[in-house]
């Protein structure tokens, strides 16, 4: 396992239990979808997995070990994130080159011409033209911004990408393109992906495994095809049934 939550519970400082005895992990090259409604604890899991919060009980393990200040830099270089809203996740006052180079700078991975080459390669891999380097986020559409966010997350060649609702803010056609891009990165770079989403079709398109979360507990997990075709839990059935479907052709 690259990253694993083992029997994790999380309680807010005043009161409510946000997660209860959750175990979930992502291994090398795996793709896991984390599905649930607002308030189910998805974002709390992402925060714990990014070591932005500490669990009340249980362990967060990176390569089988707790994350310590000594392993933090290696952890950050191995696990990167794409957020839901590409309009708020890119600094409006930095140009694209500076935005995409940020992990290289902050993790001390590369600078100068080496960094420039990595940024160019990363942007090329997400289909953003090389002449975009000096432009600013406002000049790009939502789908292009999400590609730039993906370029930033993958520029340091991480092993795991945490994608928190990466396509929910996008139009249907753009959604397909970004899902295809993530699938391609998975194939070509062997990138493991944990995708958080309330949209089962996006999870179905990208993830081999699915974990269903309800009120801070894992209610069902298994291969995505099994969960879609034969959900065991009533909650999962409701979730599948709620997805709007087109009239049959």
């Amino acid at each position: 396992m690259i990253l694993e939550l083992r029997n994790v519970s999380y309680r807010y400082r005043k009161g409510a239990l946000a997660l209860e005895d959750v175990s979930i992990g992502v291994g090398e090259g795996q793709s896991v979808g984390l599905v649930g409604e607002s308030g189910s604890g998805k974002s709390t899991i992402v925060r714990l997995m990014l070591a932005l919060a500490k669990p009340t009980a249980g362990e967060v393990l990176f390569d089988g070990e707790p994350i310590t200040p000594a392993t933090m830099r290696r952890f950050r270089a191995s696990v990167q994130t794409v957020f839901q809203d590409p309009y708020s996740s890119l600094d409006p006052r930095q140009n694209i080159e500076s935005i995409v180079a940020e992990p290289l700078r902050s993790l001390g991975i590369a600078k100068g011409s080496e960094a420039r080459a990595m940024v160019a390669a990363s942007l090329a891999s997400v289909g953003i033209a090389a002449d975009s380097l000096a432009r600013y986020p406002h000049a790009f559409s939502g789908g292009q911004r999400q590609r730039i966010a993906i370029a930033r997350a993958t520029v340091c060649h991480p092993r795991l990408l945490l994608a928190d609702e990466p396509v929910s803010a996008l139009d249907v056609t753009t959604r397909i393109q970004v899902i295809d891009l993530l699938a391609e990165l998975r194939e070509s770079a062997g990138l493991a992906i944990l995708m958080v989403s309330h949209d089962l079709s996006a999870v179905a398109a990208l993830c081999d495994e699915t974990v269903v979360l309800n009120s801070g507990r894992v209610v069902e997990s298994g291969t995505t095809s099994t969960i879609l075709a034969a959900p065991r839990e009533e909650y999962t059935r409701q979730l599948v049934a709620a997805v709007p479907r087109l009239p049959a052709p």
Binding site: D171, V172, I176, A204, L246
Partner: protein
């Protein structure tokens, strides 16, 4: 007289860029129409033009007749009586549509008092009835501020407010886009039932073909401010004529196929 008659509607941004060009459609009382397109296709601008709510600097040309009143270039005092009584809007994001500093009950009481001349005990009863109609039965909702209730509850409250003036036309502009799928399914069915029960006309705006097809049978596909295709849901899905529509249908079918057989 048609309830809403739009002909050769154009909307231009400051600087002259066309946001909507030469758009025409009619919507009769009690009928439903879907406007579908992606971000920037001009569908929300169209809904604002229909109610005379275009932002500063946006200029409308052509004609929008709402209950026989010309909205394009119409004087504000002629438009005010249309809003609420003839047409109401439910917006995409209930958190910004609702006043954050006012309790839900008060926000609902205002239009009820104005449009139905209710006061005192009768007004309080009307508020709880209006909330019950959108399945907000909990008495605490009326006393809550918008941030204290869930996104789905906020959208139900916004729908109750839009319906409080008994409009003949409901304009729903991406009313479920900000919501989870399960909540979306509830709101879609709530809107469907209310529109049916009251015999309202509905202009339903969305980027999601699957959601639109659950609400309306007739739709217009917009791209870059132009109506590129119109027809029934079945026609558009089975034989899209325009290349943009074909791409939209293909994407929607691809996503749908991911979910497997029904």
């Amino acid at each position: 007289m048609t309830l809403l008659s739009v002909s050769s509607l154009g909307v231009t941004a400051p600087g002259g860029r066309a946001l909507v060009s030469d758009l025409s459609f009619d919507l009769a009382a009690g009928k439903r129409l879907g406007l579908i397109g992606e971000s920037g296709s001009g569908k929300s601008v169209t809904s604002l033009a229909v109610t005379g709510l275009l932002g500063a600097g946006l200029v409308a040309t052509g004609s929008v007749l709402l209950d026989g009143v010309q909205v394009v270039g119409g004087a504000e005092r002629r438009l005010v009586p249309l809003r609420g009584r003839v047409a109401s809007v439910v917006f995409q994001e209930p958190l910004t549509a609702l006043d954050p500093l006012m309790r839900i009950g008060k926000q609902l009481a205002e239009p009820l008092a104005r449009h139905r001349a209710l006061r005192g005990a009768a007004l309080r009863v009307a508020v709880s009835e209006a909330l019950a109609e959108v399945s907000l039965d909990d008495a605490r909702i009326a006393r809550a501020y918008p941030h204290e209730i869930s996104g789905g509850q906020r959208q139900r409250a916004a729908i109750a407010i839009a319906l409080s003036s008994r409009p003949q036309l409901l304009i729903a502009d991406e009313p479920t886009t900000a919501l989870d799928v399960t909540v979306q399914a509830q709101i879609v069915s709530l809107l469907d039932n209310l529109v049916e029960a009251r015999g309202m006309a509905l202009l339903f705006i969305s980027h999601d073909l699957a959601v639109v097809s659950a609400m309306t049978n007739d739709l217009i596909v917009m791209s870059a401010g132009v109506a590129v295709e119109r027809g029934t849901v079945a026609e558009v899905l089975s034989a899209p004529k325009d290349p943009y529509t074909a791409q939209l249908v293909r994407s929607a079918r691809d996503l749908d196929a991911m979910l497997g057989e029904r």
